[in-house]
Amino acid sequence: MEPILELQNVTKSFGGLRVTSDVSLSVAQGSISAIIGPNGAGKTTIFNQITGYLKPDSGKIFFCGQDITELNTRDIVTLGMARAFQVTSFFPEETVLDNVRVACLSQKNKTRNLLKGVDDFKDATDQAHKILSSIGLEKEADRPAFELAHGDQKLLDIGIALALQPKLLLLDEPTSGMSPDERLLTRNLVKKLWKEFNLTLIFIEHDMDTVFGIAQTVRVLQMGRLLAEGSPEEIRNNPEVITAYLGEEVL
């Protein structure tokens, strides 16, 4: 099957610092995979380039067979890619429902409408409620988003991305800042959403239980380079990865 996402020799420097160094990878449709690596390895920078937020200096990025290297974020999102953020990104003053509903409306291309009320869009509203129940925030629907606990805000961020009905969903550290209990719940939730919404899912993560628990493929970045790629078992036993990142104590 044709890969849904392909990076060919993607390279990016900030000044003299190479943050992405000749990265090539190919992501299979319908897969769930993780990107790991030490802080500053260039994980988020890769996401930024995939989503058109940063342009690579050289190399090509293909999404669903289409060259998206030169496209801007807005167009890439329209093609069916969505993202949740490491530092949670949402609309703090809007209700939890409206946070998701604005994404539903955007996906349905209804945001140019300026005379109908938001409530008049029944399908977008229903869909937003459905997503809120999927991520377990239905009870909080009418609260302003800033009132949510941090963990719930992370989930809301994912919910907003889901509402865009993406083919490819990128999650940047979905469990960061969570308690161990929350992490377990989120891990199971991410896996559930992946199946429920027929997604291709790539996530960046530091929590190894999450990485090895749900990823089919793990890619390791180090200093902008793709150090290794393989099944969780292969990565766990890769000596290079162990010295570079995992360390002996993990095993």
């Binding site: 949402f90 938001v118 865009l164």
Partner: protein, 319 residues
């Protein structure tokens, strides 16, 4: 939630129609009618301005450009071609404002934050300079006096109800916009423009849309105002006009849809009451603004609603 929103709107509209609808019956002189008319027009101007500032987060310091454009369109057309063209001239004013705001908007919206604010101010001041210097066309510093609408609108009461209906339509329209999907996107742009891009929306395109809509109503306000004061002068383009509409919005509360209308009402009444006793009325406005910004940052309507929420039973459990 939905129900309470509905109730709040009903309260505003009820009060609005009763108070402003009855002014022609209760007035003691034409002066009161003029005062109420000014409040209506400035209230509309302020609500439209707040769609830009309070809703979308774009602090334009140059809305006087469109207010003046609306006013001068009417003034110049009536002076040169006669009062029968008063209404078409208002239409001309808003059309010119739409065209100008698209052109200016394409330039200024590239900038954000304080740079946007300063650039809008620069465009406003440019228009003021041109009006001020171009004496034989604009009347320069003297402005133009004796601008009257023709026909039935010559009657002050008829003109008053004419603006009353237009202002109702305008505010009703803006309320719809605020509650629409586009309104939601605009609020989201204020809170997190980056995320809006990641929703697949064009931030600048939406900013331009609301800039044009807001400027349309600024020009309508300027045009309608000429029928109240019967004169135009370059100060309508001056930065103090832009500043005044900002004050109204902030005083009433930029987080509240109807807040700026209340702000306009309060400021115009203060100007009138204090202005009758001392020429230092702007000092009083300045003091009030200082108290507001320091003590009641959410504006009159925002603070009152905050108090209500605090003492309302049932809200407490929410924490």
């Amino acid at each position: 939630m939905k129900k309470s929103l509905f109730n709040k709107d009903i309260i505003f509209w009820g009060l609005f129609v009763v108070v402003f609808g009855s002014v022609p019956f209760l007035k003691q002189s034409d002066y009161h009618l003029m005062l109420a008319n000014s409040i209506l027009i400035w209230g509309m101007f302020a609500v439209a301005f707040n769609m830009l500032f309070g809703v979308t987060g774009m602090l334009s310091f140059g809305q006087a450009l469109y207010y003046g454009l609306g006013a001068y369109s009417v003034g110049l057309v009536v002076k040169n071609y006669g009062p029968s063209l008063f209404l078409p001239a208002i239409g001309l004013g808003v059309v010119l404002a739409v065209i100008t705001s698209i052109l200016v908007g394409l330039l200024v919206i590239r900038l954000s934050g304080v740079y946007f604010t300063v650039l809008t101010l620069a465009f406003g001041q440019l228009a003021w300079q041109i009006t001020f210097r171009w004496y034989h066309f604009t009347g320069g510093d003297d402005g133009i006096q004796g601008i009257m609408p023709s026909g039935v609108l010559e009657n002050h009461t008829v003109y008053y109800y004419f603006t009353f209906v237009l202002v109702i339509l305008a505010i009703w329209f803006l309320r719809r916009v605020a509650n629409s999907p586009m309104g939601l996107v605009l609020r989201c742009i204020r809170q997190n423009p980056e995320r809006v891009r990641f929703l697949g929306r064009r931030v600048r395109r939406n900013q331009l849309r609301i800039y044009v809509i807001s400027s349309f109503f600024a020009a309508l306000a300027g045009g309608l105002m000429t029928g109240v004061t019967n004169s135009i002068h370059p100060d309508m383009f001056y930065w103090t006009t832009s500043g005044e509409v900002i004050l109204m919005a902030v005083l009433g509360g930029i987080g509240q849809f109807f807040g700026p209308f209340i702000g306009a009402t309060v400021i115009i009444i203060i100007q009138d009451v204090v202005g009758a006793r001392t020429e230092y009325w702007s000092l009083i406005i300045g003091l009030i603004m200082m108290v507001m910004v320091l003590g009641m940052p959410r504006g009159l309507v925002g603070e009152i609603r905050g108090l209500k929420a605090r003492f309302a039973p049932g809200r407490m459990s929410r924490g």
